[in-house]
Symmetry: C2
C-alpha cells in the first residue's frame, strides 16, 4: 500500500515536472516562485525554506539557480544584516503565471477521471494522512 501511494504520487510528480520543463521550470523552482508570489513581498530565505518544506541549505542553492535564471533576486534586509531576502523579478512573475496555468491544466486532467464524491473523499483522506 505504501509503495502503491508512493508510485502514484511519483507518477504525478514526473508528469508535472515534464510539463513545467517546457517553460524551463522544475517543480522545486515553481513551488518556490509560488510562495514568493503569494507573499507579494521579499521573503527571508529561512522562511521560504519553511514554506517549501525543505532545509535552508537547499533553499540557498535553489535561489542560486533561480537567480541565474533571472527569475528571483536576493536583496538585503535593512533590519537584520544576517538575513537575505528573495523577491520575484518581473520575469519571475510572468514565469510563475505560466507555471500556474500548466499546474491547473494538469490538475484538471488528473481529476477529470474522478466523479465528484470521489474528489471530496480523496481530499479528506489525504488531509487525514497528513500531519501525523
Amino acid at each position: 500500500m505504501t509503495f502503491l501511494m508512493l508510485g502514484a504520487v511519483h507518477e504525478m510528480e514526473a508528469n508535472l515536472e515534464a510539463a513545467l520543463s517546457r517553460i524551463g521550470l522544475s517543480l522545486s523552482k515553481f513551488r518556490t516562485l509560488s510562495h514568493l508570489a503569494e507573499a507579494k513581498e521579499p521573503v527571508p530565505l529561512g522562511a521560504l525554506a519553511d514554506r517549501c518544506s525543505c532545509v535552508r541549505s537547499n533553499m540557498t542553492q535553489l535561489v542560486d539557480r533561480l537567480e541565474a535564471d533571472r527569475l528571483v533576486e536576493r536583496v538585503s534586509d535593512p533590519g537584520d544584516r544576517r538575513s537575505v531576502l528573495a523577491t520575484l523579478t518581473p520575469e519571475g512573475w510572468e514565469r510563475h503565471a505560466e507555471g500556474a496555468r500548466i499546474l491547473a491544466e494538469m490538475e484538471g486532467q488528473l481529476f477529470a477521471r474522478l466523479e465528484e464524491p470521489d474528489r471530496a473523499a480523496l481530499t479528506r483522506l489525504v488531509q487525514l494522512l497528513k500531519s501525523s
Copy 2:
C-alpha cells in the same frame, strides 16, 4: 490539491526514510532489496531498474552502494556477456527482513488512524489515479 498530496506523501516518505536509517538503509536501497528478495534469483540491472521505476544509470550507482554495504553482489550472466546480474548476499536477506518489519510497523501506525471503509476507499482512489 496537488501540493497537498505531494506534501502528505513526502511526509510519509520522510518518516519511512528516518525509520529505515536506523538500520543503515535508505528507502531506495530498501526498495531495491525488496525487488531482489521477491525475485529470489539474480536479476539483470536493467530489469531491476524497471521494477524500481528508475533509470538504469541510477540503478548502477545504487548497486554500487549496496555492494559497498555488502548487501548485494554483482554476478555475470553466462548467457549474455553485456548483462550484469544483482543478487542478495546472506546479509542482504537479513537486512531486507529487518526493513520489512519496519515498513509493516509504519504502515500499521499510519493506517491505524483510518476506519475500515476509509482504508478501502483510499486504496481504490490511489489505484484510480495511478497509470493515467
